[in-house]
């Protein structure tokens, strides 16, 4: 590469690199520094060493509760969403008349799903006298206190996230369509049924995509904010008080930026550990074409 080309290349990547440094790397490292300070936004940060982390792990009952709620939410949401998205993708993979319309229709909730308006709509659907309870009563089932009962509230928020399965579904659909059809033909000749083909051909071949969706959905679930913020405000009894809500409250209601940064870094560490675990385990269950293990 000539000198001019080298500089031209650098010029091309400079905007992105600058943006990354200014808007990602700098805030990222700043928050690490702030997590060791007492900082209320209006006065200068004051170094407090590990005080914030000590308070977090030894004295903060709200953090314990919020962490438990968050882990429960992730454990419920991610598997359910992956299974549901894969199921719908398999259905939409059939060549039926008007299938593109259905594919679009199933994807639409994901475009709308993260919005405030949909959270408000969800609030009305699952209200005590909302649509969902009307349906239940119409078929003779007792109405459910979806948001007011701490046992149900988190599940109701989970349903909102589950409804936004479209992006995972589209990725699954693309993966399903890339599976070599000759494998199914060979399996059919050998007498394999649909379930055997799905289990022994489809699933192994789309494991890289399952792995990708697993990571992405896990990260998204840990970052859930809009639904519980709009619908339940973390209640009742903090049963939907996910860590992002706690971070927001500490940062922008109590203006304890140092402490909020410490919680953010603990959340980051949890996501990082789980991601590393997923990568480590992927060696045992993810199949890549051209892999030496084949």
């Amino acid at each position: 590469m000539g000198g001019d080309s080298k500089y031209l290349g650098l010029a091309y990547v400079a905007p992105y690199a600058l943006g990354l440094l200014l808007f990602t790397a700098f805030p990222f490292l700043s928050s690490l520094y702030l997590s060791f300070t007492d900082y209320d936004l209006l006065s200068s940060p004051e170094w407090v060493g590990l005080d914030n982390y000590e308070r977090l792990f030894t004295r903060d009952r709200t953090f314990d509760k919020s962490l438990r709620v968050t882990l429960t939410y992730v454990a419920m949401t991610v598997p359910l969403k992956l299974v549901f998205a894969l199921f719908i993708a398999v259905v939409l993979n059939y060549r039926l008349k008007g299938i593109n319309l259905f594919r679009t229709a199933y994807y639409v909730p994901s475009i709308l799903g993260g919005s405030i308006a949909i959270a408000v709509l969800w609030r009305y659907i699952f209200a005590g006298d909302g649509l969902m309870n009307m349906i239940l009563m119409a078929v003779g089932i007792e109405p459910i206190n979806w948001f007011g009962d701490p046992e149900n509230a988190l599940f109701t928020i989970t349903l909102l996230r589950l409804w936004q399965f479209g992006s995972a579904m589209v990725i699954f659909l693309a993966a399903l369509q890339s599976v070599d059809k000759s494998l199914y033909e060979a399996a059919a000749i050998d007498g394999a049924g649909p379930w055997q083909m799905f289990r022994n051909i489809t699933l192994p071949l789309i494991t890289p995509v399952i792995f990708f969706n697993l990571i992405m959905q896990t990260v998204h679930a840990f970052q859930e904010f809009n639904g519980p913020y709009i619908i339940t405000q973390g209640g009742p009894l903090k049963s939907t008080y996910l860590l992002p809500l706690y971070i927001y409250d500490e940062a922008f209601k109590d203006f304890d930026m140092g402490y909020a940064s410490a919680i953010s870094w603990v959340l980051f560490a949890i996501i990082m550990v789980l991601t590393l675990l997923a990568f480590w385990s992927s060696k045992k269950w993810v199949y890549y074409a051209g892999d030496e293990r084949n």
Binding site: L41, L42, R123, Y124, F126, A127, G128, D129, N145, W146, F147, G148, D149, P150, A153, I231, T232, Q233, G235, P236, L237, K238, D249, F252, K253, D254, F255, D256
Partner: protein, 420 residues
């Protein structure tokens, strides 16, 4: 030479007393009617003083967070609407916002009473001018109460007695009153203040002024309101998605027939009611042996000028126009309640621009007695300390004594945090 010196002196004087044409920004929160009125007022005042003012407005939700972030980043508007309790957060030493005393040549401060000026003063600096005074009042849907065959209550006992009557005469889904979350915590505060004669937080010591017994009785009183069918249970309010009162269809339909709200929110709570329904303010409900009516009264909001603005003189001209001059006062009307400025109040009254019910409500707020409200009562951490533990009581997770212990501990922790 003498002529040059004289010219310079005149020019300097002119700069001190009047600003050249400036591009300013003003921020506030509110509803649609306030947004429209304020924009009209800014246009009128801008035209009068030769400035251009860009409006920056939002709803209430999130405004504190936005404004604080702006102030931290020194990007706040030149002129700001600030909630009175926030003054102690932004400017505990008086230096966080501009001292309006420096603009007393521009702003006619004689329109405010000494106590109002004091409310906006932090450490000797006048950081905000009260726009209006507000207080929590009881408002009842008289139409529904009439349908139940009851007179509007004057005591807590009468309110408690109304619960079963509403159920019997009107139906199980009718309630004479409502209170959950913050409103429940403020009802609790009122009851305890009346009983003890003390504010929950002592303004002199910045610490809790109630005994544990005061907390217990106030918490138990909340339980009585629920048990008597006077207010919907916390669980039921949560079940409906915690919708604000003015968005609650049951309020609009008259099925919830009473509330405890700022008098300045009259239009917000009366607008959803049908024309056949009458909303009436009553004096604060009382209890036997109470030591004070316990009015929760405060400057509803103040107008402040940014300490970081380099156009403070121009901002002061606009501020004075909005609060004292006919053009601004006329355009703003009563969208921020009955004005605190004497001139503005007289102008609007003589023009019949304030509804009689607003004047009546304001009189109740001004005339009622009660200990001063500590700004820390409105800090989110103090409010959370009360609401979270009252919620635990409401859900049966704690009894009244345990809830009182937890509440005291949490409030003390919050106050210690704020003090430090």
């Amino acid at each position: 030479m003498k002529l040059t010196t004289l010219s310079l002196a005149l020019a300097t004087t002119a700069l001190v007393t009047s600003a050249g044409a400036e591009d300013l920004r003003m921020s506030w929160w509110g509803g649609d009617s306030r947004h429209a009125a304020t924009q009209a007022a800014l246009e009128a005042c801008g035209a009068k003083h030769g400035h251009t003012i860009s409006p920056e407005y939002t709803g209430w939700s999130g405004h504190f967070e936005k404004l604080t972030t702006q102030i931290a980043g020194r990007t706040e508007a030149d002129l700001m609407q600030v909630n009175w309790p926030w003054l102690s957060f932004y400017s505990a030493d008086g230096g966080g916002l501009a001292d309006l005393n420096k603009f007393s040549d521009t702003i006619d401060l004689s329109n405010w009473e000494a106590s109002q000026i004091e409310a906006g003063t932090m450490n000797g600096a006048l950081n905000g001018l009260p726009v209006s005074t507000t207080g929590r009042l009881f408002a009842f849907n008289k139409t529904t109460w009439d349908a139940a065959g009851l007179d509007l209550p004057t005591t807590w006992d009468e309110l408690l007695a109304a619960g079963p009557v509403f159920k019997e005469k009107l139906g199980e889904d009718y309630y004479p009153f409502e209170a959950a979350a913050l409103d429940a915590a403020l009802i609790m505060t009122l009851y305890g203040t009346q009983r003890s004669g003390n504010p929950l937080i002592d303004p002199k010591t910045n610490s809790i002024a109630w005994s544990k017994d005061d907390f217990v009785s106030a918490i138990e009183f909340y339980g009585q309101l629920v048990d008597s069918g006077v207010i919907p249970a916390w669980q039921d309010v949560a079940s409906a998605g915690n919708v604000p009162l003015h968005e609650n269809p049951k309020w609009a339909a008259g099925k919830i027939a009473g509330t405890y709200q700022w008098d300045s929110t009259y239009f917000k709570i009366s607008d959803p009611l049908g024309e056949d329904q009458e909303l009436v303010y009553v004096d604060l409900l009382g209890q036997a042996g109470m030591k004070t009516p316990g009015i929760y009264r405060k400057a509803s909001m103040v107008f402040s000028i940014s300490a970081n603005s380099d156009k403070q003189q121009a901002a002061a001209e606009v501020l004075n126009c909005l609060l004292n001059e006919p053009e601004g006062v006329s355009a703003l009307g009563s969208t921020r309640g009955v004005p605190a400025s004497a001139t503005a109040r007289e102008q609007l009254l003589s023009a019949d621009a304030i509804q009689p019910i607003q004047i009546e409500a304001q009189a109740k707020v001004i005339e009622a007695e009660g200990p001063g409200i500590h700004p820390m009562m409105e800090f989110p951490s103090v409010r959370s300390a009360m609401q979270d533990n009252l919620e635990l009581f409401a859900y049966g997770e704690l009894d009244a004594s345990e809830a009182a212990d937890e509440m005291i501990m949490a409030i003390e922790e919050a106050l210690e945090d704020i003090r430090s």
